[in-house]
Amino acid sequence: MLQLAADNLLSPIVLSFVLGLFAALARSDLSVPEAAAKALSLYLLFAIGFKGGVAVSDHGIDAKLGAALLAGVVLSFALPLVAFGYLRAISGMNRTDAAAVAGHYGSISIVTFVAGSSVLSDAGIVAEGYMVAVAAAMEAPAILSALWLVSRGSAGGQRMNAELWHEILLNGSIVLLLGSFAIGWITGAEGLAKIESFIVSPFQGVLCIFLLDMGLIAGRGLREGSKVLDAGAIGFGLTMPLAGAAAGLGMGLLLGLSTGGVMLLMVLSASASYIAVPAAMRVALPEANPSIYLTLSLAVTFPFNLTVGIPLYLAAAQWATGG
């Protein structure tokens, strides 16, 4: 366990993140161009989706797929309610900001998922390929919970209109993730053989550069956003992932997922969105302060999960599944 934590902390991936964080905090002008960052994220989504699809095509479709998707949706709906209550109790945040933050914690961060998968495969543990689809399923429901939280009793329903629905369900990340999952599933091992040296071999290296960029953004966020967070909010950002992971653990055991699957469900539940949910909040809840939710998600919870959370969740999943 300690060994695992140390290995994780001293992996090129985590150290690249730390380097970015340091550079931003030291006000270096190091930066990744926006177009390059987006290209990296397209690559990661394509690769992780494709590999998930190939895994499903290899091991056949599991009877648990439907149940796992449902479990993901339930977690995504429910976690914001927990988060909201916890946040209002522990910090002085107003209802609107707290609801917006809560929505982020019900949804997921795909980079955290990628980092978790990468630790898993380093450890030689195989997980259900369809966890990628579970990740996609967990993106949106939390947004509804957040909007419901903000408008309980009042006429908040109109915050969700057809256009916003469309944007959320067909946002680029989801479409690419599920699309490449389908492609991987259809083309299987043969398809993988063709593009393996693109999506498998260089994967960890690309992830390093991506995490360097995440570190830069998190560091900039900390510099800009630290003034808007009180101690309670920061405490929330460091402990809510544990609550999420616990829920994910319970759900994973209930479903009878493999060790790797349980661990990934914990990672998903513990992680907080920083792509889909912030965009939805800007449209539907513009009065919530983006500095608060972006800083918490990107600069507090993401680093926590990356450094401490992931090895912890793996250890817990191994202990609980006896795997």
């Binding site: 960052a37 994220s41 680029g172 792509i275 965009a279 800007r282 983006p290």
Partner: protein, 103 residues
Amino acid sequence: MQTHKAKRVEITIEKIMERRLTEALQSADVTGYSVLPVRGGSGRSGSWSREGQISRGSGMVQVICIIRPDRLDALLEAAFEVVESHIGVVTVTDCEVLRAERF
């Protein structure tokens, strides 16, 4: 050269609202506009930059419409409805255009 009076409207708005704005403009029969990227900025809600961003929820764009003066009010009303509850800046400048028949 022969020029004609027109209005230059520049709307700085969140990228995520861009499509809503341009659709509102189209509904108000504004037929021409151009969209310029904005790299960063600062305002009451803090400062921001697009560098390294993958988030779709941050960042702004600048939408520029050149229109005939008599069409200004319709445009502003359409724009205002979108901008109203969001951050963003709308400016109107007097200008002269070549080839006024295009507007």
